[in-house]
Amino acid sequence: MIDMLQNIEFAPFILSFKLAGLTTIILFMISLPLSWYLSQTKSKIKPVLEAITALPIVLPPSVLGFYILVVLSQNSPVGSFFEDVFDIKLVFNFTGLVVASCFYSLPFMVQPLQSGFESINKNMLEASYVAGKGKIETIFKVALPNIKPALLTAIIVTFAHTVGEFGVVLMVGGSIPNETKVASVAIYEMVEIMDYTGAHIYSAIMVLISFIVLLSVYIFNHKQKKSFI
């Protein structure tokens, strides 16, 4: 048993967490202005933007993965632009995985933040404007501190969801060890070669980590709600 645990290759887990961490940071920066805009706008394009943002939830990961592959490959204008100008390849490497994950996990960051912003008393934001504060200061000093549960949910769910992705990762990244072979892909491969022991250990670790993360979020949110009553 100890032998088995010692032989575990942790690289796929480290890769998974590195991918999830980077994706979460990038998505937070993208989603903050987007979700703020969606929460405040009365524009007619709001439903269009909301529908586009929510697409990754309903699309099969293979569809998403296929389109990302098509758009980012060296044969496409976008892919060749990045390769010519920045010398960056966007498919079958870690960079490509990060880009693909950002698309895949976008709704999980935008939706909790948007509903958090929408739940804020509008008068409170207006009180901040009246006090002479601009939008950015209002977002960081008034809005965000008052939607901590939504903020935490957005960050954790995005992180956990990225750790758990499989289809898109496989399509865009393949399974290159230490580059694109994340934990979920590693488990798939173990099952394929009938290494059930390895698959068991990897899967159990995934279940445990996911459970602990979700439990902490719910405990925190429960406490926050109590303290706001």
Binding site: N121, N123, M124, E126, A127, S128, Y129, V130, A131, G132, K133, G134, K141, V142, P145, N146, F228, I229
Partner: protein, 283 residues
């Protein structure tokens, strides 16, 4: 002098209407805005604050807040706004709520002392009572020494005793800071005590404008007291009955005869009036 001449089409609960206001307000005035709900009072306040758009001009002294070409952002108008629901920042303590507007510790301390909140300065808003919250909100609105203080039904959510207390504080603060103030209110006694001018709106138009006494005293010249109230109880005392009636926030005893008692039902709306002692004859 504040010159307001604005126009805005509104689609309210009472159908479409045109908010059309042409108004001059003297500096240091305390103006009450009254009128039925949906008459455009709050919208007028929000337009003055720059929170809603309109066409027309707003001029404060030499400063133009709005004309055909420009519309000064809310942030640059130097106003104080007191919301009906307080709108305090729950993540900041009482003191931090004030300092967020302007980092002037002396002024914050002074304001909190006037409003008897000094010992609560480190508390979070959620731990305060309604009256305390509204006082914090009032102090916060005065932190940037506004040229114009706007209050949207500031005391309507409070009980009568707390109202009276806060009215005194508003009066004290207005005396000290001399801020030109516009307050939306429905409460005649509040309007009478606080303001030196009352403007009544109806369907977006000014229908009455004058000092509190002229606008509010509806019985002027009728030589008759008349109050509407609710009959709470009838008590038999010797040969007569005493009816207990609630008028406004006061209980009143009225002597009634056994004949009159027959027609009275406890819980019903009654009208108590005294006929004129000095009848006047009008040709």
């Amino acid at each position: 002098m504040i010159k307001i001449n604005i126009n805005k089409k509104l689609h309210g609960s009472n159908g479409n209407m045109n908010l059309d206001i042409n108004l001059n307000i003297k500096e240091n005035d305390f103006v009450s805005l009254s009128g039925e709900s949906g008459s455009g009072k709050t919208t007028l306040l929000r337009i003055l604050a720059g929170l809603e758009t309109s066409t027309g001009t707003i001029q404060i002294g030499n400063e133009i807040w709005q004309d055909e070409k420009t519309c000064l952002a809310t942030q640059k108008r130097k106003i104080g706004f007191v919301f009906q629901d307080y709108a305090l920042f729950p993540n900041m303590s009482v003191e931090e709520n004030l300092l967020f507007v302007k980092n002037d510790k002396e002024l914050a301390k002074h304001l909190l002392e006037i409003t008897q909140l000094a010992n609560l300065s480190k508390r979070l808003p959620n731990t305060l009572s309604g009256g305390q919250k509204q006082r914090v909100s009032l102090c916060r609105a005065l932190m940037n020494k506004p040229k114009l203080l706007l209050m949207d039904e500031p005391l309507s959510a409070l009980d009568p005793t707390m109202r009276t207390k806060l009215q005194n504080e508003i009066l004290a603060l207005h005396k000290e800071f001399g801020t030109t103030t516009i307050m939306v209110s429905h409460d005649p006694s509040e309007i009478y005590r606080l303001s030196n001018r009352v403007i009544v709106l109806d369907h977006g138009q000014i229908i009455n404008d004058g000092n509190a006494k002229d606008v509010l005293l509806k019985t002027t010249g009728s030589q008759k007291f008349s109050f509407e109230g609710e009959l709470l109880d009838i008590i038999k005392v010797d040969v007569v009955y005493i009816a207990i009636v609630s008028i406004g926030q006061q209980l009143v005893e009225v002597v009634v005869s056994s004949e009159e008692v027959k027609d009275l039902k406890i819980g019903s709306q009654v009208s108590i009036s005294t006929k004129a002692f000095n009848p006047t004859i009008i040709h």
